[in-house]
């Protein structure tokens, strides 16, 4: 096993642990903002994990998927932020 292979395995393990911790935070909350932050980080970790898989399997095309994941994470975070903001605003004068 070359040094690169060992590094790849260790990196994958560390990213897996990171995904576990972030997922715990996402499930645990306690608020919607905490979950949204965890989701944001999960997107970044998914990009890193996809890149590692691309290297491990030698599939260069997976890097395109990493790009797509980054895009989805960005749009998702902005969408959730808009949702939190709207949902928190009190229903002003809706029935007047």
């Amino acid at each position: 096993m070359s040094f690169l292979t060992v590094a790849l395995i260790f990196s994958a393990l560390m990213v897996a642990v990171a995904v576990g911790l972030t997922g715990w935070r996402m499930l645990h909350g306690p608020g919607i903002a905490d979950r949204a932050v965890a989701m944001d980080l999960l997107g970044l970790l998914a990009v890193a994990a996809t890149a590692l898989v691309a290297l491990g399997g030698g599939y260069l095309a997976l890097l395109d998927i990493a790009l797509g994941l980054g895009l989805v994470g960005f749009i998702g975070a902005v969408g959730v932020a808009t949702f939190i903001k709207r949902a928190s605003e009190p229903p002003e004068d809706q029935d007047v």
Binding site: L4, L44, T82
Partner: protein, 407 residues
């Protein structure tokens, strides 16, 4: 050679990602977690990608990796900025050790979104005290609330507000309950521990609990002495748990509940002052008197009627409360179509209960947020605890510094 560089980059990227995840899991509030997630997260992912590019070492790989890294560098700050702003506006709680809030007054902060933490209540009866009467007072026409609950929350001016509300509302036959509460969720927040880790964190929480218990005990002693010297019939209780829930349960068995304005049951040990004030202003219980430190005997009572069913029921509850029956009562309505008939009926009901009542000018319009000059000069405002239409009008009233009675 590039293999070594790639391996090192991969390892450092994964390590930084792991550190970011630990930060997200361990830091105490949403804003600090965001600080870990975005900065460390983007560096971790970026270094991993660079490592992958070094390992492939082809033009195609370099092109894609450069694209992704640039893309992340552009988008992650934007998305985290939007998330942070939304979390602030959404009222995500801040760690109790936060020292600076530069957005205070710049952005609004709305209702809290945290889960209602199901806390086990520990009821510890402290014992009954007060002049021993032997028998309960014989029932007769009540001229004051029969059972009054004093929520002992320590804070600036709390003792004065509680004493004043007793003097104003309690009659000689009123049974007073002194409820000393400790809000465990707000006291339980721990922060990032620079030295000493979790052990130190526990020590801090324990110290905070001890201080809050001390403050609660000192306020309880103060109120006990006051009740004894004034000769009220009173009982004392101490409970710990989710303070909002416990207060709701206790208030359900009392006619009138008094909460000092601007305080909460962390006894000024955990929450920032403005945040504690928000918490207490958000309690919505029928028969709750939010007493300001300068609370005195009001010269008049103003009932804010919104012309809807909830307001009419609130008025009936209030009339049944026997609260300051001798004071002139003004029923002021919203300037809405169809509210006229309801207001006439409301005035008739109050008159039939032998209240000195008259109808006020219909000066409140829901589109005008703060039309409240009439309620500040020595008059106590009474608002329906659960209303539907006039929210804008009376929300400003609830957020004022003055005392307010919810009906």
């Amino acid at each position: 050679m590039s293999e070594i560089v790639a391996a090192l980059l991969l390892l450092s990227g994964a390590t930084i990602s792991l550190i970011a995840a630990i930060g997200v899991a361990r830091l105490p509030d949403a804003f600090l977690r965001m600080h870990a997630a975005t900065k460390a997260g983007v560096v971790g992912a970026g270094l991993t990608l660079l490592g992958v590019a070094f390992a492939f070492d082809t033009g195609e790989a370099w092109f894609r990796v450069t694209l992704i890294v640039l893309f992340l560098l552009v988008t992650v700050p934007i998305s985290s900025h939007a998330l942070g702003r939304a979390a602030y506006v959404g009222g995500a709680p801040m760690w109790s050790g936060t020292v600076m809030d530069e957005l205070k007054g710049v952005l609004p902060r709305h209702a809290i979104d945290a889960d209602p933490e199901a806390q086990r209540a520990i009821a510890m009866p402290v014992g009954a005290a007060g002049p021993e009467t032997g028998a309960r007072p014989e029932p007769q026409a009540a001229a004051a609330p029969r059972r009054m609950l004093l929520a002992l929350a320590d804070g600036p001016g709390a003792a004065a507000a509680l004493r004043a509300s007793l003097e104003v509302a309690a009659g000689p036959r009123t049974e007073v309950t002194l409820l000393s509460l400790l809000c465990t969720p707000s006291l339980n927040q721990t922060g990032p521990m620079p030295v000493g880790g979790a052990h130190f964190g526990r020590r801090l929480v324990e110290a905070r609990f001890a201080k809050a218990r001390e403050a609660a005990a000192s306020l309880a002693t103060q109120m006990e002495t006051f009740c004894q010297t004034q000769g009220y019939h009173f009982r004392m209780r101490h409970e710990e748990g989710d303070a909002g829930t416990l207060l709701g349960h206790a208030a359900a068995h009392h006619d009138l509940t008094v909460l000092p304005r601007g305080t909460w049951f962390d006894h000024a040990q955990a929450l920032e002052e403005g945040y504690a004030a928000q918490r207490s202003a958000r309690v919505s219980l029928p028969g709750l008197l939010l007493a300001a430190p300068d609370f005195t005997m009001p010269g008049a009572l103003h009932f804010l009627h919104e012309g809807d069913l909830a307001s009419s029921e609130a008025l009936k509850r209030f009339l049944g409360l026997s609260f300051l029956t001798h004071l002139p009562l003004t029923i002021t309505g919203l300037d809405l179509d169809g509210a006229d008939a309801a207001l006439e009926e409301a005035v008739a009901l109050a008159a039939a209960r032998e209240r000195p009542v008259h109808r006020g000018p219909a000066l409140l319009h829901p589109d005008r947020p703060a039309p409240l000059p009439a309620f500040t000069g020595g008059a106590l405002a009474i608002i329906p605890a659960r209303s539907s239409s006039g929210r804008t009008a009376w929300r400003s009233l609830r957020e004022m510094e003055a005392s307010v009675l919810l009906a």
